[in-house]
């Protein structure tokens, strides 16, 4: 007995194992629950994130792929589109964490119902569709690390710094990467 979501996730896992995209590893955390995945994203080369490895957690709804998964970086990451402060309560900030995937090409991870979309500027084509996949999400997130999307900043401080004081921003990101690696 397997639901549509399980079959599809198993299929995606198979494809990711056979043919992993550069710098991305992803898979279910345990065999018992295919709806919880863990992913590792390498910082793209030629960006201040280079050398860093960013663990993230993907949670899939039971009616995946009709509804999108949610994604959250597990560590701290300084980026205009992402803010993960473990001490902040969830709820109000959750939306911002998810917004990490408002990337270019943007994959909005919220359901596509118009009333539910807090970001009205997002075009329909940028929203979730069942033909998107884990691989596409992770690749988009990776490309967003290299190229922040300043139209929908979640971390305003990072966005401002990225726009006005690029050198300082890059230094701060590099420091974050080093701290994360325990250097």
């Amino acid at each position: 007995m397997a639901s549509t979501a399980h079959r599809r996730l198993l299929q995606e896992y198979r494809a990711l194992t056979n043919n992993p995209p550069d710098g991305i590893t992803a898979g279910p955390m345990s065999e018992d629950d295919l709806l919880q995945w863990e992913a590792l994203i390498q910082g793209p080369e030629g960006t201040p994130f280079e050398g860093g490895i960013f663990p993230a957690e993907l949670k899939f709804p039971k009616d995946y792929p009709l509804a999108p998964p949610t994604m959250k970086f597990l560590g701290e990451i300084f980026h205009p589109n992402g803010m993960c402060c473990p001490h902040l309560p969830m709820g109000r900030y959750r939306r911002k964490l998810i917004n990490i995937a408002s990337v270019r090409p943007r994959l909005h991870l919220h359901p596509a119902s118009p009333g539910d979309d807090p970001n009205h500027y997002e075009h329909a084509s940028e929203r979730w569709s069942p033909i998107q996949s884990v691989e596409k999400i992770l690749i988009s997130v990776m490309s967003m690390l290299a190229e922040p999307n300043d139209e929908s900043p979640a971390n305003v401080e990072a966005a401002k710094m990225w726009r006005d004081r690029r050198a300082e921003y890059e230094q701060k990101v590099r420091d974050g990467v080093r701290r994360m690696l325990g250097l």
Binding site: M1, A2, N19, L34, K62, S113, S129
Partner: protein, 468 residues
């Protein structure tokens, strides 16, 4: 949890590690983008995208847009894509063999590289039999799509004779595992009647008649005859009709969608009962179940080989266990909501079971309220309010305190499970029975309205304290 082990899952990326990486793209083109599996009953949308019947029906029921291009689509506009189904069937039949050969060590590589290509070509041609190829005719015999494996077997057997002994043995082994119960010898279904088929309507006639027929009497579309007639006038058939539907019992009717908002609970339950599917559960579950049944049923209507209703009911049961009423829940709140709304919900047991958490929430609500009051009082003190205003504030406090039997403050936030309400003003008073969240028919009509401070109003109007 899954049907198959991880290693048994076939994926288009399997080809990338073989000498035939190009087949990965071929296979990817034969897979549905929604379920990532081979197309099952592929359907064409009016924007010319193809998906499995079940997948696209679910997706359209969800948001009414094509998942590929996001144009608005209607369920009624879906059309079967039988050529795609043929291609998928043919590919799936030959896939394991080709993959096994492609994965062989390079010693036999020279030969194996040829074999897969030859096999796919043969399969492709057997999937669409050449109409001009004239062999023996078997009058009155029905040819269905199931006959194709037999044909393929024979053609590959012929080819295997020319190969080395090792390969022959290998092929024989694969064919043995390949044989199907219906693989009896079937003669090729072409014609030896000296006639040719009209390229448009497929009617058979003498060669010299074709031009005139095209100019005058050709109806312009392929003329398919009902299976009953076929057996009596089989000389009018040709190979193309292998692609048409096999003689089947009368097709089940597609089910219409319902506008659920027009139906009362009882009516909806009756509809479900009429359809022969379970009619228990909350309103939400009823709607979802009906929706899923329509999807399963109509997708089955699209299929070339419809399943029996009992099998469909099993599919619905799987849905019930994974997404429906009996689904294991990771998101507790949703499930609890459904549970509470259920008719047979045991309120007493629920209150007893969750008593401690209710108490905790009440305690934390009181605490945060006390803090808020304290802050407010400090604020009042610091701004040096006039004694009249202070008395008004005090009377408000006494009205809103938990000991007062009923007040709008209290009604507004009587959802003990909602943690966010913990920081809001007072929880339910201790001597009250707590109302579990989302009780049917308990939505507070006053919710959302501004809280009216009756005491303050009274004071402003009459210049005195509370009405005695």
């Amino acid at each position: 949890m899954a049907d198959k082990g991880f290693d048994d899952i076939a994926d288009s990326t399997d080809w990338l590690a073989t000498p035939l990486p190009g087949l990965a793209a071929v296979e990817a083109a034969l897979r549905c983008q929604i379920c990532k599996d081979f197309y099952a009953t592929p359907m064409l949308t009016s924007c010319n995208h193809t998906f499995c019947s079940m997948c696209i029906r679910r997706a359209l029921a969800n948001d009414g847009k094509c998942p590929a291009c996001r144009s608005s689509q209607e369920l009624s506009k879906l059309r079967s894509n039988w050529s795609m189904e043929e291609a998928v069937l043919a590919f799936v039949r030959t896939r394991d063999d080709v993959l096994a050969l492609a994965r062989k060590p390079p010693t036999v590589l020279v030969e194996t590289v040829e074999v897969p290509v030859a096999t796919t070509t043969t399969t492709a041609s057997s999937a669409s039999p050449p109409p001009k190829h004239a062999l023996d005719v078997d009058e009155g015999k029905e040819y269905a799509a199931e006959d194709q494996p037999a044909k393929r077997l024979r053609s590959s057997a012929r080819r295997s004779k020319t190969r080395g002994a090792e390969l022959t043995a290998e092929m024989a082994r694969q064919e043995a595992s390949f044989s199907m119960p219906s693989s009896h010898s079937v003669p090729d279904q072409t014609y030896n009647d000296g006639l040719v088929a009209c390229p448009i309507c497929l009617e058979r006639m003498k060669e010299v008649q074709v031009d005139r027929h095209l100019d005058s009497s050709c109806p312009g579309t392929p003329q398919e005859q009902p299976p009953k007639q076929k057996s009596t006038s089989s000389s009018h058939r040709n190979g193309f009709q292998v692609l048409s539907r096999p003689a089947a019992p009368p097709k089940p009717e597609r089910l219409p969608t319902l506008s659920y908002s027009m139906l009362k609970d009882a009516q909806l339950r009756k509809k479900l009962a009429d359809l022969g599917i379970p009619k228990d559960g909350s309103r939400e579950i009823l709607q979802k179940r009906h929706q899923e049944w329509i999807t399963i049923w109509n997708a089955n209507c699209d299929s070339l080989h419809p399943k029996r209703k009992s099998e469909l009911l099993q599919d619905l049961d799987v849905w019930e266990r994974t997404l429906g009423s009996r689904a294991p829940t990771s998101s507790r709140s949703i499930h609890q909501g459904a549970q509470i709304k259920d008719k047979g919900f045991d309120h007493a047991a629920w209150s007893a079971k969750h008593d401690s958490s209710f108490q905790d929430l009440v305690a934390s609500a009181r605490k945060s309220r006390a803090q808020a009051l304290q802050k407010a009082n400090e604020g009042q003190a610091s701004t040096e309010m006039s004694p009249q205003q202070q008395s008004a504030g005090a009377s408000t406090t006494s009205m809103a305190s938990p000991s007062s039997p009923s007040h709008m403050h209290v009604d507004q936030n009587s959802l003990p499970l909602d943690v966010s309400s913990a920081s809001e003003p007072p929880g339910p008073p201790p001597n009250r029975e707590y109302t579990p969240p989302s009780m049917p028919g308990r939505s507070n009509p006053m919710a959302g309205l501004p809280v009216i401070d009756t005491a303050a109003m009274y004071y402003q109007l009459y210049g005195t304290g509370e009405p005695s």
